[in-house]
Amino acid sequence: MIKYTIKRILLLIPVLFGVSLVVFLIMRVFSPDPAPVVLGEHASREAMQAWRNAHGLNDPIVWQFIDFLKNALTGNFGTSYYTNQPVMKEIMARFPATVELAICAILFASVFGVLLGVVSAVRKNTAVDYASTILALIGVSMPIFWLGILLIILFSGTLHILPSTGRIQPMLQPVGGTGLYLWDTLTSGDFEAFGDAARHLIMPTLALAMYSLAIITRMTRSSMLDTLNQDYIRTARSKGISSHRVVKHHALRNAMIPITTVIGLQFGSLLGGAVLTETVFAWPGIGSYTVQCIQKSDFPVVQAVVLIIATVYVLINLIVDLIYAFLDPRIKYSKEEG
C-alpha cells in the first residue's frame, strides 16, 4: 500500500510537469506579445522593450520556462500585468470562496446522488426510479448558467427567500480565519453569520451540483443494479437475509468502487463549472476572476489559475484512487493506470 502510494505520487511529477509545459506553451509561445496589449499599440518601442525586460520576456524561451517552473514550485507566479500585485496574493484572496462552493457542491451531489441512485435501483421501474431518471436527464442537459438564472428568478426575484449574489452580508463578513465562511462563522460561534453564509450558498451549490448529481445518480443506479444481479447477492437474499441488510452491507459496498471513481472525476467538471456558477451568482472566487483577467490579457493570472486548478484536480484524483485501493483490497497495486 505504501509502495503503491509513493509510486502514484511519483507519477504525478511528469503529469504536473506536462501541465506546466502546456500552460506555458499556450501563454508564452502561442499567444501574441503582451507588451502592446498591456501598454497599447501606440507605446514607444523603447517602453515596450523596457516592459518586456522587466517581465523577463526577452530571455531565451527555455530559460523563461525554467524560471517559470522554478517560481511556480515556490508558489511565485509573478505579478499581475494590471494590478502589479503578486498573482498568488490575488488568487489566495479568492481561492477559499471557490473551495467552499466546490466542497458544498460535491458533498451535496455525492450524498443525494448515491441516495437517489440506490433508491431507484432498489425500487426499479417505480415512480421514484422514473423521477430520478428524469432529474438526471435534466441535470446533464441543462446548462449550469441557465439553471442558475432560473433559480435566481424563482427564489430571489419571485419568492424573495434567497439572496441572489455574493457570499454573505457585508456587515456579517468574518475577518481572518480560513476564508471558508461556514467554518469561520461556526468556529467563532457567530450563528447569525453562519446562517447568512449558508443561505448565500444554497443556490450556487444547487446550480453547480446539478450536473454531478445527475452523473452520480445514474452511475450509482447502474452499478447497484449490476451488483444486485450478482450471484452472491441472490444467494444472500435466498438465505433470507433482509433486503435492507443486503443493500446496505453487500450491494452498496461493492457498488461504491465505481461510484468513488465517478465522484473523483466529477471534481474536475465542478472546478470547470465553478467558472460559470461564480459568474452567474457574482461569487467572488477564482472562476469569475479568471474570466475578468482574460479580457485584460493578464496572462500571469490565467496561467497560475489553470495550473493551480489542474494541480488540485490531479491531487484529488490521487486521493480518490488511494481511497479506491483502500476500499478494494483486490486491486493490484502494481497495475499500470491508463
Binding site: S31, P143, Y211, G273, V291
Partner: protein, 305 residues
C-alpha cells in the same frame, strides 16, 4: 466537461459478444434502438435540427425574418403570430436567430467531436497496438490533457489566441482526445490477442492495415456512442463560452451568447432568456438520449436493466 460519460460507457460497454459477426451487430443494434422510444424521438429531433441548419444556410428566405436585421421601433415584442418567440433588445426576431443559431451549435459539436475522435483513435490505436514505451508515453500525455477542466483550457486558449468560437472548437476538441484514446486503447488491448488478428499478423499484414481492417471496425460502435454523447457536451461547453461573452462576434446568433445578453431583461422580456435556454437544453438532451439509446442497444447486459 464530462469525462465520466466515458467511464460509464467503458464500464457498461461490452462488445465482445458481437466480435465475430460485425455485420449482424448493426442490424441488431438498429432493431433494438427502434424499440427505444426516447432514442427514436431524439433521433428525429436531431434530424430536424440538421435540416434546419442546412436549409437556413442555403435558403435563408425560409426564415420568417432576417435574423440580423434590427428594428429599433420593434424592440422587446412579446411572442405573437408574427414574432413567434418575440423580439430582442434590438428588435431582432428571436425565432429566426435561434434557427440560424442551430448551425453554430451543431457545427461546433460535430467539428469538435470529429477532430477529437480522429486524433483520439490514432493515439489510442498506436498506444494499444504498439504497447510498451509508446503506450505509456501516449497515455501519460492523455493524463496531462485530462487534468485540465475543458472550460478552463478553452478559456486559457482564448486568453492566448483571442476570443472566438473557432478557438472554442480547438480547445473543446483537444480536451476530449483522451476519452477516445482510452476507449480505443482498451478495446484494442482486448481484441489484440484474438485469432483473426493473430492470423492477419501471421499472413504478414502491415500494422496499419491490421488496425484499420481488423481492429477499428470492432471498436466503431463504442466510438459512436461516445461521439454522440461528446457532441452534447461540446455544445454545452460552447454555449457556456458564448454565455461568458467569449464566443461569437455580434451580430452573429449563438444560443449561449443570446442567453448571456438576455440576463439583463429577465423581467421585461423573460422570453429572450427562455427560448435560447430551451434550445440548448433540448438539443443536448436529444444527443444524450440518443447516446444512451445507442449504448443500451449495443450492450444487451444493460438492456436487461
Amino acid at each position: 466537461m464530462d469525462k465520466t460519460q466515458d467511464t460509464a460507457a467503458e464500464i457498461s460497454l461490452s462488445t465482445q459478444e458481437f466480435l465475430e459477426k460485425p455485420e449482424s451487430q448493426w442490424k441488431s443494434m438498429w432493431d433494438s434502438l427502434k424499440k427505444n422510444k426516447a432514442a427514436m424521438v431524439s433521433l428525429a429531433f436531431i434530424i430536424i435540427l440538421v435540416l434546419i441548419a442546412v436549409i437556413t444556410a442555403i435558403f435563408p428566405q425560409v426564415l420568417p425574418h432576417d435574423p440580423y436585421e434590427q428594428n429599433m421601433t420593434k424592440t422587446f415584442l412579446f411572442p405573437d403570430g408574427r414574432y413567434w418567440f418575440g423580439t430582442d433588445q434590438l428588435g431582432r426576431d428571436i425565432f429566426s436567430r435561434i434557427m440560424v443559431g442551430t448551425r453554430v451549435s451543431l457545427s461546433v459539436g460535430v467539428i469538435a467531436v470529429a477532430v477529437s475522435m480522429t486524433l483520439g483513435v490514432v493515439f489510442g490505436s498506436l498506444a494499444g497496438y504498439l504497447g510498451g514505451k509508446v503506450d505509456s508515453f501516449i497515455m501519460r500525455i492523455m493524463d496531462i490533457m485530462l487534468s485540465i477542466p475543458s472550460i478552463l483550457l478553452a478559456i486559457a486558449f482564448m486568453a492566448a489566441l483571442g476570443q472566438g468560437i473557432d478557438k472554442a472548437v480547438i480547445a473543446i476538441s483537444l480536451v476530449s482526445i483522451p476519452e477516445y484514446a482510452r476507449i480505443v486503447r482498451g478495446e484494442i488491448l482486448s481484441v489484440k490477442e484474438n485469432d483473426y488478428v493473430q492470423a492477419a499478423k501471421v499472413i504478414g499484414d502491415k500494422d496499419g492495415r491490421i488496425i484499420f481492417r481488423h481492429i477499428l471496425p470492432n471498436v466503431l460502435s463504442s466510438i459512436i456512442v461516445r461521439a454522440t454523447l461528446g457532441i452534447s457536451s461540446a455544445i454545452l461547453d460552447a454555449s457556456a463560452l458564448g454565455f461568458l461573452g467569449l464566443g461569437v462576434q455580434p451580430p452573429a446568433a449563438e444560443w449561449g451568447d443570446m442567453l448571456g445578453r438576455a440576463r439583463n431583461y429577465i423581467f421585461q422580456a423573460p422570453y429572450t432568456l427562455i427560448f435560447p435556454g430551451l434550445a440548448i437544453s433540448l438539443t443536448v438532451l436529444a444527443f444524450n438520449l440518443l447516446g444512451d439509446g445507442l449504448r443500451d442497444a449495443l450492450d444487451p447486459k444493460s438492456r436487461q436493466n
